[in-house]
Amino acid sequence: MNTLTAQKSAQSSVIAVKKTWKSSLAVYIQLAVCFIVFVFPIVWMLMSAFKENVDITSYPPKFIFSPTLDHFRELFVSYPFGKYIVNSLIVTGGSTALGLLLGVPAAYGAARYGLQWTAFLTLIARMAPGILFLIPWYVIASQLKITDTYMTLIVTHTVITMPLIVWLMLSYFQEIPKEIEESALIDGCGPFRVLWQINIPLALPGISVSTALSFIFSWNYFLFSLVLSGSNTTPLTVAAFNFIGVAAVDWGGLMAAATVITVPVLIIVALVQRWLIRGLTSGAVK
């Protein structure tokens, strides 16, 4: 009797192992197909950036080639891509900093003091088409002659970063139990010190995700700079776009430019990936 059940369970466990082996093979095959579809274009971009122009246009396409840095060298020697990178960093860094400065206290205030409607207000920016704001901004900025300044670009990009930060941080602050700060409040600690010394340190993972995401969003955002930047402030995205016209058939140059815009974003994602996906989808799942 005992041996029989032992045999039976051994049998069923074998079946179970067989099943998982088969089903994980099926999963891997599906993953491989999806991987080719979704990740291949990025691999293609990176590959083409390092190919000689002859190899890019070769038919059939070459997957094995001797890599070259010529296209990147060209970007920095013949075109001021170094300057564009600095411009992008200033605008992205500035709008992320301003977004944090405005957004973190706002999210805390909204989460703790029942002022959620203020966070709601920032969401208008998520609904309205960017050109809707851009029309008045352009009219005002050209009247005041402040187009093509870092300030204008930083402030307008904060329209992207600030609401993002408010909404991410709102959920982080709501998760921090009130009890932690109550004793501090009773001891006479002011609300700003409670925010600065208790809540911000506790919400640090959330702040890192917000910083990373708003950096990515501002870095990627193209429309506002397209209209409001000029020769002094052209960021990478607009420069790369203009490059399509300048170097119509220079595929290698184009792919190198695309790579230069993309790589910083990929690095950030690799750094904060553990929190990033949770951060980006937390609001949606709840």
Binding site: S24, V27, L31, F35, V37, F38, V39, P41, I42, W44, M45, S48, T57, Y59, P60, P61, G103, A106, Y108, T118, L121, T122, R126, M127, A128, P129, G130, I131, L132, F133, I135, P136, Y138, V139, I140, Q143, V155, T158, M162, K178, L185, I186, G190, P191, F192, N220, F222, L223, I244, L254, A258, T262, V265, L266, V269, I277, L280, T281, A284, V285
Partner: protein, 295 residues
Amino acid sequence: MSVPSSRTSLTRLAPWIMVLPSVIFTVLLIGFPIVYVIYLMFTKWAPGSSFWGLPFVGLDNVKATFKDVLFWKSTWITLKISAISLFFEVVLGTYLGILLSKSVKGIKVLRVLFFFPAIVPSVAAGMVWVQLYDPSLGFLNYVLQTFHLPAGTWLNDPESVIYALSIVDIWQWTPFIAMIVLGGIQALPEDPYEAAYMDGASKTQALFYITLPMLKQTILIALMLRSVDMLRIFDTIYVMTQGGPINSSTSLNIYGYQQGFLYTSMGKASTAMLFLLLIVMTISFLLTRWRKRYV
């Protein structure tokens, strides 16, 4: 929250001091522009004209916009490209999300890699896809011809351009929906599955009778997030076709951009953008109601 007995006025004002800067910022940079766009809708703006005191033209801009064939074409294009893209993004995104929820070796790394399309700058994505779509040198036609399939005209044909642009959008945003679906799956309770497997349900049955019904809410939220962005599609189209060929990929956002910043017709641009805002709000309102009623 327990209230300290000796409240200074600073303490009382603290919540407002925290919240007001962001509120003022929102009112100045988002609220005021919306009001000003309504003003522009009824006035005539020309390059160099002052900020206030523009000549009042009544409904001329609105009439001109609504009489513009291209305006209605753009509206149709916006709705069409949104419907096609959203449909495939939701279906494929749900599939990919379920696939990524499987616990196989290396899945955590794969989840990050699959996320890449969603964070690649649209400008870069557009540039890459322009290359992939190139009729004579592009990789896609090479693949098609290898399998003895007819080469596509992709972006160069008014008939196919919308579908080609949809494919790029689907490529870029399916992983985003997949991540939301994955989050939803990870939050699902285990008990229904245990009960179902005890009763001898197969994995396919569990998927269709347990997982998908419980995911409805998550999928609808993902759809809502995406539709708000999708209806305002601009970057990819502007980078890849600038609305062409012969305006056959001019979305409303592209139309607004062209009217405003190429033809300096701010009145028409304003009308079109307010119309687009109305569409976005209506559709997200309908989706919200649908979600509340049927899920």
